[in-house]
Symmetry: C2
Subunit: 249 residues, 2 copies
């Protein structure tokens, strides 16, 4: 009863999963929000079954798990009613509380609040870079806005004065930010001028990125920038093929 | 050193506040997200100074507290560096953890996650009703979409089978949803056909609303539908006067 390594589409039957009480993780392999949940699952070594969803042609049965059809979703098969959780931060925090062995969120209420606010502050960078990733004609000021939004993070890592945003060890805040930093190097491939983040302007942030890239959970989950670039090119053409994630680079 | 009861505008000097370690709460009196924080402050009886911000002409000094100029913000003057917290849910959760006397969030990780997901599910109702509240020409299907989005809450309160979403007692989830339910009755005044939520379709939800309206914190914070309607009419004209909140009905 192994689950096929593909994104399930409209018209494909529900995968048959063992009735083993193991958590079920619904995601899309290129979705950065899904990756947040995948990183927490990997970092905490939580056993789970992976089911990938084609977001372009969602299978009819997917709304049984995620009423709005969104990924990620995590279904708790060992709990009465087998509820499914959605929203990447809600899932991450739930997993961190329900599997307390290696705590990723700070226990201090204030630090936890400051980390969540920092995670929210990525939103302007995400909005600015999204059309650069996925369209042929991003607004002319998109990269400028993106860089201005990243200045906040360069400042913050300097202010915190620790190798990770979370402190001396990697933590939830680092994992929640990582997926976008994993994708930025793909711009060196997709943009004509081989775009890279400025090594002086983002000196500390790039050190952080190199360090996080070495984390075991990140290594287990991350995709190569060339694979991200391949997906971005396909999106430029309006023909996303999610399964390129599973092809060799 | 009492703070004037008005919304501070561009050009007005920073209010002088006592250096007493008391939390400072920055908000706009009609902002539903600000009201979420106000409800938690009231429910937990947390002492605080109130500073109201004119969102149309923000005072220059406001970004010192909320870098993006957003309300609500809560400044922790008793903490080193006097950090300011933003984002209504982050503030609410922080206050609930930092002032644990009367816990408003469930302690169970799963129930907490489910409550947060329910709070997120109000978003489609908020988006649909926003132009109905604040413009003269909402899309023709706006009320229909709004009602469809509220069906989720009628179903959920039935499913939970308790008077409050939080259970037998009012809790964080109820306070986070309340501000919009406080505003819906204003539509009876602002819309030509004296719009009200259908008493059959939303029977349980309206029972919940009547019950929450009797809560002490809600009574301390809520504004009369006529005051909300006055503000909505002013917004229709493009001339919001936030200080109508402080005038007699």
């Amino acid at each position: 009863m192994s689950i096929p390594l593909k994104h399930f589409k409209k018209g494909t039957p529900k995968p048959e999963l063992p009735d083993d009480g193991v958590l079920r993780f619904y995601s899309m392999r290129f979705c950065p929000y899904s990756e947040r949940a995948a990183l927490v699952l990997a970092a905490k070594k939580i056993p789970h079954h992976k089911v990938y969803i084609d977001l372009n042609e969602k299978p009819e049965w997917y709304t049984d798990y995620s009423p709005l059809g969104k990924v990620p979703a995590v279904q708790l098969t060992a709990v009465a009613g087998q509820p499914a959780l959605v929203e990447s931060l809600v899932i991450a925090e739930y997993l961190d509380e329900a599997y307390p062995e290696r705590k990723l969120l700070p226990t201090d209420a204030l630090q936890k609040a400051l980390d969540k606010i920092l995670i929210e502050r990525l939103a302007p960078a995400v909005s600015a870079v999204y059309p650069v990733f996925f369209t042929n004609n991003p607004p002319v000021d998109a990269l400028q806005k993106f860089e201005a939004a990243l200045d906040v993070f360069e400042e913050e890592i300097k202010k915190r004065g620790t190798p990770y945003f979370a402190g001396q060890q990697i933590g939830l805040v680092d994992y929640m930010l990582w997926p976008w930093f994993e994708r930025f190097p793909a711009l060196k491939i997709t943009l004509a001028d081989k775009y890279e983040l400025d090594k002086t302007r983002y000196a500390k942030l790039l050190q952080w990125r190199d360090l996080v890239a070495q984390d075991e959970a990140v290594k287990a989950v991350a995709l190569d920038p060339r694979v991200h670039a391949k997906f971005m090119f396909a999106r430029h053409e309006g023909k996303p093929n999610y399964d390129v994630a599973f092809e060799p680079v």
